[in-house]
């Protein structure tokens, strides 16, 4: 099988889809429908292509080998190298599926839907490139490039008076991009050639150079994560966003930071950086405690979900910094389940908020009037709590046990924070299902539409199957 073409197709198919979305007529009544269908088709085809790529080699070999590799020469001196191993494919698969689910969340939105779909596909193209990047040049370009469509998306979705928080977010990202650029230029100046990400740790660097390269890389990636004191930039935008698809695109960004660490961060951290590890761990733990308690400071389900996401992002961040290689796949499986769970919860919450705003009702008890949404929300909350409904459960167990292996107290605090976040989410479920709130029968509260329900149930099925075998879909 010519897997190289398949790889390039997976990267660029969203870009092709975006052109079709852009050419949809603006003055036509069916514009939104066309744009939505093109986006869904593009994402669905991409998901199928990823599954095909997964099946390119026998099951026994897919964990060890690169499944596909492709290089692309731009002029004579710039070469972009992309490769797909099982780790990258899981992240790409998770991102496509999350956005596929997210599109169902904006079906009822009429404002800027076409533009949001267009920029989402562009964003996904660069994100796919980022996940598949093998060399430092393509990694840097695909690290920076998704930010522009992302800002456009956030700009469309944010209320006008809150654009200041977008500036703050972009400042963080710009700073990160500059630091990574400095590191990359420095590495390239040392090597005089493009270098693979897996080979960065093989460079012999002096103390200062090492500090510059690894410090720059570290800060560039960490600025994408909601780690104290940079957390406020991301979480304030999360809280302000009402559009589920845009929320999901921003939610994938910290995940890409985690992936960056998995790809670039060496197993044996240079001494200059490793002395700072306890400080960094302390920062992560402090942020995690903030996030876990933050869920109790708000009453609405959206904030509680944001804080929950925040806690788990930090769990993965702590996990990627462990000096072990064996749990990388467990992190990937867990992230896969995490993205699917959160994307489904986000679109269900968006539907509830929309209905509540339409009828001017409180969200308390609204799930009692939505049987389909209630079933789906219940199941996804159970999965989000870490109960054995998805791959999230077993893999989180492995991740936490590995944290315990190195740091007992850190592990204990992590479990306590996970428990607090889970209780906060469970509490929000009970508020939404409060039977004491009676709505008048003439208020016709709409349940989620049948198609969205089916899609969400298919996602639930995927999660359930992933509990039994994470790569169950590999032929």
């Amino acid at each position: 099988m010519h897997t190289d073409y398949l790889l390039m197709l997976i990267i660029f198919l969203p870009l092709i889809g975006s052109i079709f979305v852009l050419t949809a007529k603006d003055n036509h009544a069916d514009t939104f429908k066309n744009a939505e269908q093109v986006t869904l088709l593009t994402l669905l085809v991409n998901i199928l292509l990823i599954i095909t790529l997964f099946s390119a080699k026998p099951k026994a070999e897919i964990q060890a080998d690169m499944l596909a590799q492709a290089s692309w020469h731009f002029f004579s001196f710039i070469k972009f190298s992309f490769g797909a191993d099982v780790l990258a494919l899981i992240f790409v698969f998770a991102a496509q599926t999350a956005l596929f689910v997210g599109v169902f969340g904006i079906r009822k939105e009429k404002q800027n839907q076409k533009n949001i779909l267009f920029y989402s596909l562009i964003y996904l193209t660069f994100l796919n490139g980022y996940f598949f990047a093998l060399d430092i040049m393509s990694f840097y370009i695909c690290f920076v490039a998704p930010l522009f469509p992302l800002y456009m998306l956030i700009g469309y979705a944010l209320p006008e008076r809150q654009h200041k928080i977008l500036m703050r977010l972009s400042f963080h990202h710009f700073l990160g991009a500059m630091l990574l650029l400095a590191s990359c230029i420095f590495i390239l100046s040392l090597k005089h050639d493009d270098i693979l990400l897996s080979n960065i740790d093989k460079l012999h660097l002096s103390y200062r150079k090492s500090l510059l390269v690894w410090g720059g890389l570290f800060l560039a990636l960490i600025l994408r994560m909601p780690v104290w004191p940079f957390h406020h930039a991301t979480t304030s935008v999360w809280s302000a966003l009402k559009n589920p698809l845009v929320f999901l695109t921003l939610h994938i960004l910290p995940i890409s930071g985690i992936y960056g660490f998995m790809r670039c961060w060496p197993l044996n951290i240079p001494y200059e950086i490793s002395v700072l590890t306890p400080v960094f761990q302390a920062l992560c733990i402090v942020t995690m405690i903030f996030a876990a308690f933050g869920g109790y400071a708000y009453t609405n389900a959206g904030h509680k979900l944001s804080n929950y996401i925040f806690v788990y992002d930090l769990l993965y961040l702590l996990a990627v910094f462990l000096p072990t290689d064996v749990i990388k796949l467990n992190i990937a499986y867990s992230v896969f389940a995490f993205l699917l769970i959160t994307s489904s919860l986000v679109i269900l919450q968006a539907h509830m908020l929309r209905e509540s705003a339409r009828l001017n009702l409180p969200v308390k008890g609204i799930l009692c009037q939505m049987p389909r949404a209630s079933i789906a929300y219940n199941l996804f909350v159970l999965a989000a709590l870490g109960l054995p409904v998805s791959a999230f459960f077993g893999n989180n167990f492995i991740i936490v046990s590995e944290i315990f292996n190195f740091q007992l107290y850190v592990g204990t605090i992590v479990v306590v924070c996970m428990t607090l976040a889970a209780i906060s989410l469970l509490h929000s479920l009970y508020v939404l299902k409060d039977e004491t709130c009676v709505f008048a029968p003439e208020m016709k509260i709409k349940d989620i539409d049948f198609l969205s329900f089916i899609v969400i149930m298919i996602v639930m099925f995927m999660l359930l199957m992933s509990l039994i075998k994470p790569l169950w879909f590999v032929l």
């Binding site: 964990q63 703050r168 200062r208 104290w228 004191p229 406020h232 405690i289 903030f290 308690f293 933050g294 869920g295 109790y296 400071a297 708000y298 290689d325 064996v326 749990i327 796949l329 467990n330 159970l382 709590l385 870490g386 109960l387 054995p388 459960f393 077993g394 167990f397 492995i398 936490v400 046990s401 590995e402 944290i403 315990f404 292996n405 007992l408 592990g411 204990t412 479990v415 996970m418 428990t419 607090l420 889970a422 209780i423 469970l426 509490h427 009970y430 299902k433 409060d434 039977e435 004491t436 039994i468 075998k469 994470p470």
Partner: protein, 545 residues
Amino acid sequence: MLSETVFYLLIIAFFSLFRTKEKYDSFLSLFLSGFMILVFAFFMMDWHMLGTETIQTFVLDSSQSVNIKLDITSSKQNYIVIFPFFLNTILALLNNQIFKYEKHKKGMLSLFAFNLISFVMLISGNNFIQLMTFVFMVDILSQLLIFDVNASKRYSIYNLVADMGLFLVLAMLQSKLVNLDVGNISHYYETGRHRDFIMFVIMLSLAIKFGFFLFQGYWLDLKSAKFHALYFLPYLSTPMAALVLYTKLYPLLVVSPSFLPLLNTIVVLSALWGGVSAVLNPQIKEKFVYCNMFCIAFLVKLLEKLDFVWNLWFSNIVICFFVFNLCLYYLHYELDRGHGKNKPAILAVLVTFLLDLLSLTVAVSQLADFQNIWWISGFGFVFLFVLSHLFVFVWPKLQNRQEPNNDYRTICVMSIVSVLLIYISHSSLLACWQACFVFAFFVALCCVHPMKFLRIGNSFYLRLQNVDLFSLAYAKCIEAPLKHAGLLFNIVVDFIFLERTLWPFIATFNTFLIKTYRHISRLGILYYFLSTLTGILIFIFLFYM
């Protein structure tokens, strides 16, 4: 073999999930219940014909870090432990068939079948992930069985905390042990430490799951749910899953010197609080909860005295306690809900009640030995006090009912239960001389009713109950501090430090730099020198960096 039993139960559970027209619901559920009884018969045959131990393993995920597998171990011991849960499930199904409490009988049947499968997998499992998975499954199914949002709220939150406690402990073990097998637990202390911490977390989780003293609040919430959810939950859900875990994780408990004092304290407090509250509380549902709290405390202590070996007599005790629940439920049904016109039915319940007491006496007397006789006698006395009080509580209501009623369903269920009770303890029923003493003592207690003096302080107790100290403590000690801590973090760190201090500082500094740059880039010789000097300074700084 157990794997076949699981397979048949899965078929029943999935068939019960299919939606059919309401008129076929009863018929299909009757058919599937019949099939389940047949599976039970096969289970009993397998048990008696079983030779050597066999293990069937299904590897789910094999990766560098872990092998996740499902084990189904068919051994005599596992059959003994599964037996009471299977029988209790059959009795609960029988109840579900004969009475129309549940609208969707098939749905209930499906939940019972899945619940039983979870218990079988929990008991026959040999690795941590399997243990945790099925403990969590039992919790999820319990919430579905409760089928009431308000009643299940605290139930799910408490159990989530307990589950996360177990998650923490098992993750700690996994970090130090080579593989995830339960048999490896005893090796933990060769490499791992923190034995007191581990014991404390496990005991806390188990105490929450058992609904012991201080954690009984979520069981009391169940009074707003249907009564039939209340009778089977104590012996078919989380407390029993916790009891199974208790037998599997005991090597981690006994190594801590604090284990026995902690266990004794919590068991005695739970038994006392349960016993006294069962006597004093005027509501039958709350009596029910407290009575079960007492019984479970007894089971936990008895298991410790038996060196954590779950034997057949212990299984019989579990069944007897379940039948007590069933009897109390029927008494409630016949008396308190306006149907109490059926005197023969109530008498049948009382006969079964006494027969159950006899079976319990037989089972307990078989387990009593020199080491545990004081504990058993103590618990036995308190239990008889509680029972006699319940009996006296019910009896006057029975006297007032005069109208005849030809509903034979209760008699039918009670007859079946009586036959089962005679079957499980027939071998030593007549030879048990202790039973005569127990009966004589019970009758004497019913006649004298020594606990009636407690009614003098009843008003105080009721006031105490109305205050709901546990909810108050939960709200004031856990919920409020969490909320305030969250708000405090938010205001102090996010708002005051970041929003009002750090970011304005960066913005001001940025403005200062821009203004300075603008100043030094103006036309003029002095500005030219200043800008050149700045550039040189930056260059020197970077050079030495």
